[in-house]
Subunit: 318 residues, 2 copies
Amino acid sequence: MGEFELIERFFRRPAVRSPLGAGDDCALLAPAPGMQLAVSTDMLVEGRHFLSTVDPRRLGHKCLAVNLSDLAACGASPLGFTLSLALPQADAAWLQPFSEGLLALADAHRCELLGGDTTRGPLAISITVFGEVPAGQALLRSGARAGDELWVSGHTGDARAALEVFRGTLSLPAAVFEAARARMETPTPRVALGEALRGIAHAAVDISDGLLGDLGHILRASGVGATLDAGATATLVACGDALEPARRLEFALAGGDDYELAFTAPTAARDAVQAAAAGAGVRVTRIGRIEPGPGLRVLDGEGRPLDLRFGSFDHFAS
Amino acid sequence: MGEFELIERFFRRPAVRSPLGAGDDCALLAPAPGMQLAVSTDMLVEGRHFLSTVDPRRLGHKCLAVNLSDLAACGASPLGFTLSLALPQADAAWLQPFSEGLLALADAHRCELLGGDTTRGPLAISITVFGEVPAGQALLRSGARAGDELWVSGHTGDARAALEVFRGTLSLPAAVFEAARARMETPTPRVALGEALRGIAHAAVDISDGLLGDLGHILRASGVGATLDAGATATLVACGDALEPARRLEFALAGGDDYELAFTAPTAARDAVQAAAAGAGVRVTRIGRIEPGPGLRVLDGEGRPLDLRFGSFDHFAS
């Protein structure tokens, strides 16, 4: 199977938004009048972001999901994406489920495959995703204000729990593990929530490297600090009952691979936040507050700061 | 050196066009009113697209150049790009010249680094580039008409000659080799020519997989055929005097890695084509003609079709 047959067979779709679509030197795209284009890119490498044994269908889903999560964090609506794929060989038994998982998620978000590149090489998948957002309404990391409440969507820490099972440092009941593994392998990008939070949230970020680490991006960009309630954050872990308390807290705060949104909003917007979450079909949890002074403190039930040693995930430090 | 320090140290630039630039979950970008966004993506993998011994500065140049070449083929003006980088390690001695080579070419084209992703993994570089083109004026592969003349910019075949020296199948005088090697390692994207050909050329493609192969894209997309003059194409190879005639023709027609433009224009536009090329500072060569019937024929000096066995480059067929 050659490069062109590979594209034709597994990745060709009728063009919808792009007047050109895959097939020319460039794809052509125009955001609607008054809209800005939001662009993000993420690369997934075998052995680093996924195990060689992962189901290709789940991998196809995940590599687009992590990119859609960046759009969600900006409140942008998906338009399309480009795909660069380095493959050890053109293997139909792998490409068929991979492309199905990828394109099923793309179709669910009406996110069009605009173009791409395939080459032989160690398995790596690089996606650049495009969305649109009304000019001036993007959710930024820099908008948090002292007094804002801090929220997290869905669950955090479960992907990490699944990873630790694969690493052999944790054992979970089979059904609990399968649920955690699904969180790791097929995360749900919070696109509808991000769109619904436009005009409500002051700042947002997507949680890919751990809640504390990614929250740190908001604090630095906004020039503020935050206080977190350890008890509230511990409830973020769906499989938390199966974990000892210290690990449950660590996974919630520094698990990684969560693809949830952390965002801030004024107290007066509590009902609006809950309504946005209900409309998007995802739970949200209030876990703390933005403070004027710098720093990030996690307080126990008696209001005492915890001494936490775990940090954020860094591809070159770990 | 961690991931964030790596980005800060080697890739941070002041934002110009993007209201946000690298640093938030997404970059925000808006094409000017009446403009379409042109998008293309290319991934370069060590051992496949470049040798492990390549000068990192030249590699930085090349991985953006091959993407700018796609914009050029559409007549689009560069706006910005995203960079995904998988690296075996965070090595400053490599990153410094790589980023300098990359950003020097970016600056020369006012093409802004909008965002990116770095991860540990086998060396792979994936770039998605954005340009803008007045709505409806993009140069497409599908616009060629019978009677059009066929043109090629610059030189083809020299990158292939350099590659064959590395492969040990060819020997060249040192100065000739260095010039060919520069063509392979630091191709010049024909951006200014692409822009100047808007409204003049009927169809265009960039030559990355060999002239015949990429010209085939125009012929299929336009539903036409072409006749090429072997004598004219042989003059495309800058180092042609150092090659035996059969190899010179093969390298010109099927060399690969050329990053020149092949385009068609009506006979009446000859002067306009030459003026566009002069303005862009690049030579253009008329090598044939578009025909109504399908197929691609290369004719010798007596008008007899040559029987050519070499084909286009395919990452999964070769």
